[in-house]
């Protein structure tokens, strides 16, 4: 893997995204609006400060997954909207270098997004975004890995099914929000959904975060389960992407995007 090519991909996407208002909206407005909405729900219906902290911490961490997935998927879609895939495929650029460049720019944007959620919570609702303590560090790492895995899966689907799979870049979030217990313990879900929720790896992370917020320290056991599930998810995503890349070349799907 050549760093110059990774950097070139990241720079190309930074430049293209910086010139499109939609990307600024996703980068700045959505995190701030989400923080305001969920914190205000906490203020309106909570009896003390805990619900506000749970909701703000939840949405902040969820933006880790969402922003990484969304930005990586949008970056790939930008190549499709630009009909640029054939240009890229006829250079020495490796798939791994392309994905690394996209991940780099997505990580930077994700960092900005979650910082804005945390700052909004702190400035307007007096929430300490680090209130959950040490658990935030391994929790955030697992969520990032999960977001990266999901983004690979979304890219794989776009490769195979084209722009019609674009909906997964943002739509997948609506599947994960209720099932992973971002804002509530999964016991609050209907009984029939609880087993489904338990197999979503990041459910354990959000449980661990709530334990941390309640002063229970780091729930290493839950984090270990979450990490195991996330590694399996990442492995499956890589396999899916490799399979879809192979199908893409075998079926000559690049002509659909040129």
């Amino acid at each position: 893997m050549k760093w110059t090519r990774v950097k070139a991909v990241a720079l190309r996407h930074w430049r293209a995204q910086a010139r499109q208002p939609g990307y600024w909206y996703i980068l700045i407005a959505l995190p701030v609006l989400d923080a305001i909405m969920f914190a205000s729900i906490g203020v309106a219906y909570g009896e003390d400060e805990r619900p506000v902290a749970v909701l703000v911490t939840g949405i902040m961490l969820f933006h880790l997954v969402w922003q990484l997935t969304l930005n990586a998927a949008l970056g790939f879609l930008e190549e499709i909207w630009s009909s640029n895939l054939l240009n890229l495929m006829t250079t020495p650029l490796r798939e791994q270098e392309f994905l690394a460049g996209l991940t780099l720019i997505s990580l930077a944007r994700t960092g900005v997004g979650i910082s804005l959620v945390g700052l909004t919570g702190a400035a307007l609702y007096s929430v300490n975004p680090a209130a959950a303590g040490l658990v935030l560090i391994p929790g955030a790492m697992i969520l990032l890995l999960f977001g990266w895995a999901v983004s690979l899966g979304v890219i794989a689907l776009v490769l195979r099914y084209g722009e019609s799979a674009e909906v997964f870049s943002w739509g997948f979030i609506f599947l994960l929000i209720p099932l992973s217990g971002v804002f509530y313990p999964t016991e609050a879900l209907p009984g029939v959904l609880q087993p489904v929720s338990n197999i979503v790896p990041i459910t354990q992370v959000f449980d661990a975060i709530r334990i941390g917020l309640d002063g229970g320290g780091v729930a290493w056991g839950r984090l270990a389960v979450a990490l195991g599930g996330t590694v399996i998810t990442a492995g499956l995503s890589v396999l899916l992407l490799r399979k879809m890349l192979q199908t893409f070349r075998v079926k000559g799907l690049v002509t659909n995007f040129s």
Binding site: R15, R94, T255
Partner: protein, 264 residues
Amino acid sequence: MGDYLSARGLRKKFDATVAVDSVDMTVGVGERVALVGPNGAGKTTTLLMLLGAIDPDEGSVEINGRSLAQNRVEAMERVGFAAGYLPLPRYLSVHETLSFFASLHGIDDIDAAVSGALAQWGIGRLAHQKTQTLSSGQATLVGLAKAILHSPELVVLDEPTASLDPEVAHRVRQGLLRLNEDHGTAILVTSHDMREVELLGERLVFLARGSVLHEGPPREVVAATGDADLEALFLRVAGIGQGAGDAPSDLTADAGPITGDSQQ
């Protein structure tokens, strides 16, 4: 003259349609080859297999002695590609776009490479213009600049002058000839303009229904087939002309490949 690109037994089927069948093809070092054929003949599929963008069902491609299937990155380092139909990345200036591709090719002095490539096509004034504001002709020229900015040993061009006015198309053809003469850059080009094919192609590979129908220097191919000129040959193979023998394209299915050298 050794082969810079060599393809053997290329075959590609899409569902029930055989797009390319048993195509052997070479491009020698510094050689100019024109790939010709009616719409649906398999030209673009062949080109995309030669570039590694589509995997062949059968057959192999070697570029500069390297297997494309096993060493795609190394094989593509000294290959440039442009297509008249291919847009450029949006929201970047021309200079930024070319710098991006120069980085992918590992060029050290990017500014010099970009300036040189723009100067080659006389479009230095477009350097700071955004790609989405370019006319189709200007975009084609920038695409051509992209194809040569890393001083490739082989340039593959799919209908490079399709969207250009006659004056600019003439300039492009002259530029390609100069590139070939001055730098020894091999050229593989597809075109529907038979005069362009005669000018640019030292050797012609005529595809029909996915197979090589004729191969050789354009004049020799025309002489061998008895057609008045390349245009007449093309129309006859496409089944809409009245060339020598009035052979519609159906007859070509039974005919083996005819080379320019074989005076049948």
